[in-house]
Each structure stands twice: as structure tokens, then as C-alpha cells.
């Protein structure tokens, strides 16, 4: 499968997902294959989201450390 084909396939799936979420296509109307594809897409998105959440949590922790250090410095200066 070429890159263009993959891109088209993904676009098609995203469109299907949008239609499903907007209620244009019901779950009962989906075929088994479409359901499986959607499930995989959702799982992939969830995995990506979980990764992003983990990353953002790490950065938040970093900020927290920095802020606490700054606060200590400020207290000392005062």
C-alpha cells in the first residue's frame, strides 16, 4: 500500500468516525469490518491520548518542582 493509499484510507476512516459520532450512521448499520476498523482507530487514538497525558503529567511535575524551588528562593530573599 502506497503512502497516498494509506492517507486516503485514514481519511475515509476519520470520516466514518465523524459520521458515527454525529449520529449519521448508527452502530447497528455498521458492518463487522467497519466496526473492527473503528475499534482499532479508537484504540489507537486512546493509546496516543494516554501517551500525551503521560507526557503532560511529567511536564506538570517539572513545573511544580521549579515553582516550589522559586518559592523557597523568594522566601529566603524576603
Amino acid at each position: 500500500m502506497s503512502i497516498f493509499d494509506e492517507f486516503e484510507e485514514k481519511n475515509r476512516l476519520l470520516k466514518l468516525q465523524k459520521d458515527y459520532e454525529n449520529g449519521i450512521i448508527l452502530e447497528e448499520e455498521l458492518t463487522k469490518k467497519q466496526k473492527e476498523e473503528l475499534m482499532n482507530l479508537y484504540n489507537e487514538q486512546i493509546r496516543n491520548l494516554e501517551d500525551e497525558i503521560a507526557r503532560s503529567k511529567v511536564t506538570l511535575k517539572m513545573y511544580k518542582n521549579k515553582i516550589s524551588k522559586k518559592m523557597e528562593k523568594l522566601k529566603k530573599n524576603n
Binding site: 458515527y20 459520532e21 452502530e27 455498521l30 466496526k35 473503528l38 475499534m39 479508537y42 484504540n43 487514538q45 486512546i46 491520548l49 494516554e50 500525551e52 497525558i53 503532560s56 503529567k57 511536564t59 506538570l60 513545573y63 511544580k64 521549579k66 515553582i67 522559586k70 518559592m71 528562593k73 523568594l74 530573599n77
Partner: protein
């Protein structure tokens, strides 16, 4: 018997003359004119007329059947025989006999109808003169005859039920006719012999009176021993003399939280029977279940030459055993507020009414720390309920509507799952004791959008292999944790993604806020370099 009668009998024995039927009829007429009755043994002027009457009836029957040896009386003779009443049996009916017998038993309850050597002495006590005594003797013999006749009939299986029940109620002979239904019910309820119940009822009126007297310490030696032997095995808080001891035991089992507990004594006894003899001894001594006196561990230990800690350890292990046996059972339910009758209580009362005839003992406890008026209120309330309940399967009926599978799960412990030792230890260390508990916690975890594997990975020493094993075992019972979470459902997956998206956006906003806060601090400190570095990162 009179001398004249004896002579007549002697004549009868030597009598060989054949008497024709016409002459027999004349003799019958003569005898009946004197006002006598013809019975089997009546003899008149040396003639055995009683025997004649029987023979005539039998021979006429034989002739009618067409056999040899019968007689065929003429029409005139037959008429005369009919008028004299010889063709019919001149016996008393069964009803008359029964009435006579029952009247006799009522009149003279001390004198037994069954053979008794002291009967004549007892009858003398009733009679004032010799004539009366002779009369009484005759009546006694007649009553005896009636009794033997009824007994014969019973042994042949010809006694009807109504007569049988009459004999039962009159306590004629319990070995043959059995005891009354009331006595049978009581003996079943208390697990006593029929004779003992009969004895108690005669002496004390009711068994409740007997128990009350026992509890108040007013029984004499023989009865006291009898009561000790019989009543102590009957664990009912209202009727057991050591109810306070059982109260204490129940408090130890359930704690002091509950006010009133319905409690099946059957199960308690089952558990006690399963213990070893040493455990049984220690347990019963400590709570005073047999003697009524509770003993400290110290005194038991001194008596048995063991350490105090050893004695307390044994008793505690027993208590734990009992607690475990009740942990997941539905047998107990607690009523906290009796005053306002809730729908639950009404339902319960209905169930009690339904299971009225069943006979399992259930007993109650009232928390001792409550004030007396409240205690009295509870006890009276429960007495009224008690009248309605003879519960056997009340809990089964009550939970009939519930799903049976769920009920099985509730009863199942982790040990019963059949896991490997490592997996079992993992779950036990994490504090799970029943399957129901585990399933509920996991489902809550999954509802929050986390996976089942995540849950198990948080338990110490619970690796992938163990989680797989636990999942498999649960699936074998019929619990699919992932199915319950709804992860396979497309809609739920979508919801999960949206939830994660929301979470991410929240985190990003917080990041922004944190960055702004950090910038403010940097501005305050004048440290711009670090800010630059951070932005680069």
C-alpha cells in the same frame, strides 16, 4: 359366680340329650319371659341356650349357602325365632362399647384399664360399701372386655380412624394407640420423648411453665436433673436457661453494633460439633454454655494446667471459625429500628407468616446496654413475632427473587476459586476475601475508564501470568471482567476517548497556568535565563 350357676354348668357338660328345634324355641320363650338376655354363655335349667342361639344362626347360614350340616326351619318356626330376636346378634355396638370405656376412663383416671395388680385396691378407695365395690369390679371387668375387644379390632386393622383418634385422645394405651397430636408436636419441637412430654404436661401444665420454674430455680432434685439433661441442648434464647451466656457469645461473634439479631441455632450447633474436643471444652467452659457460669481464661488455664495465653488462643480460634461460617451467610439479618415499621419489616412478617409451620429455632438478642423500657419494648415486640414464626427456610424464601448466581458468588471465598498458592496469596494480601468483593472493586475501577490489567498490576507481586490465571478462573465461574467493563462496546470506547480528551485538555490548561506562574516568579526573581532554558526544553 353363684353356686346355682355352677350346677347348671355341670349339668350342661353332662348333657347329651338331643333337643328338637320346637322345644328349643319353647325354652327360649320361657327364659325371655323371665326378663333375661341371651348371651353366648347363658344357661337356663341346664340348657346351654346361649350356645343354641349361636348354633341355630350358624346352621341356617350353612343351609342357605347350600352346604351339608345346616337346618331348614319351617316358616312358623322362623317367624317365632325372629320375634324372639334370636336370629340377630344381641351384642352391644362398637359405639356403645367405646362410650362405656371412655366414660370409665374419665371416671376413674387412676385405675389403668391395662392389667394392673393395684387396680382392685384403687377401686376399694372409690367404693364406700362392699356392694358398691362388687358393682365396681363388675363394671371394671366389662370395661376391660370393651378394651380388649377394641384392641383386637385394632390389631386386625378393622378399627376406624375416628375410634382410633378417640382412644388416642383418651390416652388408653400409648404403646398401641400412640400419643395425642399436641404431645407429638411438643416432642418434636423440644426433641424430647413422648413419655417425658406427657409427664411434664401432667405435672406442670405446659412446658413453658416448666422452663420458667427452672430459670427461677424452683425445681426439685429429680426434675432439676431432668431439666439440666434436656433443656440445655435446646438453644433458644427465650427458653434456654443460659440465655445470658449465649447473648455474650453472639455479641462476640457479631460485635455490639447490632441491636437485635435473628439467629439460627442450628448452624451454631453444627459449627460447635465440628470442633475438636479440646476446643469444644474450652469454648463451652469460657462461655458457660453447659454450666451457666462463665469462666475467665485464667481459671480455665489453672484447672487444665495450661498457660493463660494458650487457653485464650484456643477460644479465639474457635470464635474466628464461627465468625467465618457466618461471614457470607444470609441467615442473619438485623433490625435496627422496630418502632417505625418499614416495608422491609412488613415483608419479613409476611414471610414469617408463610413459614409458620416450619420448625427451626431462631433466637433473638437485645443489646444489654439499652435502657429497660426499650428492652421491654423489643422483647414484647419480638414475642409477638415469635408467635408467628417457626422458621425453617425463611431466608431462602426471602431471597427467592434474587439471582441465584449472584448468591453463589456472594458465598464463594477466594480459597474456593482454586487458584495457585501465589495468586491466592496476592489477592489475600491485597485484602480480598470473597469473589463478590473482588468483582465489585474491579468493576468500579473499570467504570472509571481504567483497564483490568491496570488494576491487577497495582497489586503487589501480581504479574502478567497471575492476572491471566485469575481472569481465567473468574471466567470459568462466569464472570468476565472485561465484558462487565464494556470495553468491547463501541459506544463505551468512544466515551473513554472523549474522557481522555477532556483530561488532556485539562492538563494542558494547567500546564499553561503553571507556565504563567513560573514566569511571574521569574520576573520577581529577575532570573530570565532559566525561563529561556525551560522554553527551549
Amino acid at each position: 359366680m353363684d353356686k346355682s350357676n355352677n350346677n347348671e354348668l355341670q349339668k350342661m357338660k353332662t348333657y347329651k340329650e338331643k333337643v328338637p328345634l320346637s322345644k328349643k324355641i319353647e325354652i327360649f320363650e320361657e327364659f325371655l319371659n323371665t326378663g333375661g338376655e341371651i348371651v353366648g354363655k347363658t344357661v337356663y335349667k341346664g340348657y346351654p341356650i346361649g350356645m343354641w342361639a349361636i348354633q341355630i344362626r350358624r346352621k341356617i347360614k350353612i343351609h342357605k349357602m347350600g352346604l351339608k350340616g345346616g337346618i331348614n326351619p319351617s316358616k312358623e318356626e322362623l317367624k317365632k325365632l325372629k320375634v324372639l330376636g334370636i336370629l340377630e346378634k344381641q351384642r352391644e355396638t362398637l359405639d356403645e362399647k367405646m362410650d362405656y370405656l371412655l366414660q370409665w376412663v374419665e371416671k376413674y383416671p387412676d385405675v389403668k384399664i391395662v392389667w394392673e395388680p393395684s387396680a382392685e385396691k384403687k377401686l376399694k378407695g372409690y367404693a364406700e360399701s362392699d356392694d358398691e365395690y362388687n358393682k365396681l369390679l363388675l363394671e371394671y371387668e366389662k370395661a376391660k372386655k370393651c378394651y380388649t375387644y377394641i384392641c383386637d379390632r385394632k390389631s386386625r386393622g378393622e378399627l376406624e380412624e375416628k375410634y382410633f383418634e378417640k382412644c388416642k385422645e383418651a390416652k388408653l394405651n400409648p404403646d398401641i394407640f400412640g400419643y395425642s397430636t399436641h404431645i407429638e408436636e411438643l416432642s418434636k419441637k423440644f426433641g424430647l420423648e413422648h413419655r417425658k412430654v406427657d409427664y411434664l404436661l401432667e405435672k406442670y401444665g405446659s412446658i413453658e411453665n416448666f422452663v420458667r420454674l427452672y430459670r427461677n430455680g424452683k425445681l426439685k432434685d429429680e426434675d432439676l436433673e431432668f431439666a439440666k439433661r434436656t433443656i440445655k441442648s435446646y438453644i433458644d434464647i427465650d427458653e434456654n436457661p443460659y440465655s445470658d451466656n449465649y447473648d455474650r457469645l453472639i455479641e462476640d461473634i457479631y460485635g455490639e453494633r447490632q441491636d437485635i439479631i435473628f439467629y439460627s441455632s442450628k448452624r451454631l450447633q453444627e459449627v460447635i460439633e465440628r470442633l475438636t474436643e479440646r476446643q469444644k471444652f474450652m469454648f463451652k467452659e469460657h462461655y458457660g454454655l453447659e454450666t451457666g457460669k462463665m469462666k475467665m481464661f485464667k481459671t480455665i488455664a489453672e484447672e487444665e494446667n495450661i498457660s493463660k495465653s494458650g487457653a485464650s488462643y484456643i477460644a479465639k480460634t474457635v470464635l474466628e471459625k464461627i465468625r467465618k461460617s457466618y461471614r457470607n451467610s444470609r441467615e442473619i439479618f438485623v433490625l435496627d429500628k422496630i418502632e417505625d415499621e418499614s416495608d422491609f419489616q412488613k415483608e419479613m412478617l409476611e414471610v414469617f407468616k408463610e413459614s409458620l409451620d416450619k420448625s427451626n429455632i431462631v433466637f433473638k438478642t437485645v443489646k444489654s446496654s439499652r435502657n429497660d423500657s426499650l428492652k421491654y419494648f423489643y422483647s414484647t415486640k419480638f414475642d409477638s413475632i415469635r408467635k408467628m414464626i417457626k422458621i425453617h427456610n425463611y431466608e431462602e424464601k426471602f431471597y427467592e427473587e434474587e439471582n441465584t448466581e449472584k448468591r453463589n458468588l456472594a458465598d464463594m471465598t477466594i480459597d474456593q476459586l482454586g487458584l495457585s498458592l501465589r495468586a491466592r496469596n496476592c489477592l489475600m494480601r491485597a485484602g480480598f476475601e470473597s469473589v463478590d468483593q473482588l468483582a465489585s472493586v474491579v468493576s468500579k475501577y473499570v467504570e472509571d475508564g481504567k483497564s483490568v490489567d491496570d488494576f491487577f498490576s497495582k497489586i503487589n507481586y501480581c504479574g502478567k501470568r497471575i492476572t491471566a490465571e485469575i481472569k481465567l478462573k473468574l471466567e470459568e465461574i462466569g464472570i468476565n471482567l472485561e465484558n462487565d467493563s464494556g470495553l468491547i462496546d463501541l459506544e463505551s470506547i468512544r466515551i473513554k476517548r472523549e474522557r481522555l480528551q477532556g483530561e488532556l485538555s485539562n492538563l494542558r490548561q494547567r500546564e499553561k497556568e503553571a507556565q504563567e506562574l513560573l514566569n511571574q516568579y521569574n520576573a520577581l526573581l529577575g532570573d530570565n535565563e532559566e525561563n529561556k532554558n525551560l522554553n527551549d526544553e
